[in-house]
């Protein structure tokens, strides 16, 4: 796992073109098929992904790697996406930093979006995730930050 983040940091520091930045994404999702499809989409546009099947596992991965973005399913067993996002924000209060967390939700309603924002997530996307949506997300939340480093 540490190898992944080293590669990531290395590639980022040697590439100045925003389009060739390789980002490392943490995908927290319990549905095995959605895990695979989303991971495939991420790899297809040239980025790297680590998959966690629930919120607890996502927290564990968060402490092991330096990610550029989290895609967080809301409804998951063990620990849901809201609790996992809140826990990441609590850890950041001590450690510093702000990792962009995007909620992936099945429900297209305002109250649901608000719960995600209240838990400390930056944005909310109603599934399914498409390649274009993913690119937009990266452009908005990740690439600009990487560019200014």
């Amino acid at each position: 796992m540490s190898e992944l983040s080293a590669t990531n940091a290395e590639k980022r520091s040697t590439n100045t073109e925003r389009t060739v930045c390789i980002v490392l994404i943490l995908l927290a999702e319990d549905n095995p098929l959605i895990q695979k499809i989303t991971a495939r989409l991420i790899e297809k546009i040239g980025h790297q992904v680590v998959v966690a099947p629930d919120g607890r596992e996502a927290l564990k991965r968060f402490s092991e790697n330096r990610f550029d973005l989290v895609l967080m399913d809301v409804q998951m067993p063990e620990m849901d996406g809201l609790a996992a996002a809140a826990a990441i924000r609590r850890q950041e209060k001590d450690k510093g930093g702000h990792l962009p967390i995007i909620a992936l939700t099945a429900h297209d309603d305002a109250a649901d979006h608000q719960r995600c924002l209240d838990a400390g997530m930056d944005d909310c996307w109603v599934k399914p995730l498409t390649p274009n949506a993913l690119k937009d997300m990266l452009g908005r939340w990740v690439v600009q930050d990487a560019e200014s480093e």
């Binding site: 098929l33 495939r40 297809k44 390649p131």
Partner: protein, 107 residues
């Protein structure tokens, strides 16, 4: 719709799509069996959970008929209405068989 078009629609190459289609059929059949178990037992929560899983997977694969039927089953089951569930589940079953034995498989 041919397999190239379907793969392109969700942004994948044909090879990946075929592999994920197999996985989709396998997991959705297993979920559909759970849904029927839940229905037989009158367990609305179990029905909703199975429908939720099918909904998510079909939505990501771009299978709108299955998605729509699963969405309806889940939403009905959340309010404990299981009267139309058997009929909606049949739509899913028919669509899964169509995907499995249809033109997508011949390529």
């Amino acid at each position: 719709m041919d397999i190239e078009t379907m793969a392109q629609k969700i942004g994948l190459d044909v090879e990946s799509f075929k592999e994920l289609l197999d996985l989709f059929l396998e997991t959705s059949r297993s979920d559909l069996a759970k849904l029927h178990d839940g229905l037989t037992a009158g367990d609305a929560q179990k029905v909703a959970a199975a429908a939720h899983s099918i909904k998510g997977a079909s939505g990501n694969m771009g299978f709108s008929n299955i998605y729509e039927a699963a969405r309806k089953i889940e939403s009905d089951a959340r309010t404990k209405h299981l009267d139309n569930t058997a009929e909606d589940a049949r739509i899913i079953d028919v669509e899964l068989n169509r995907l499995d034995g249809g033109s997508l498989r011949r390529e």
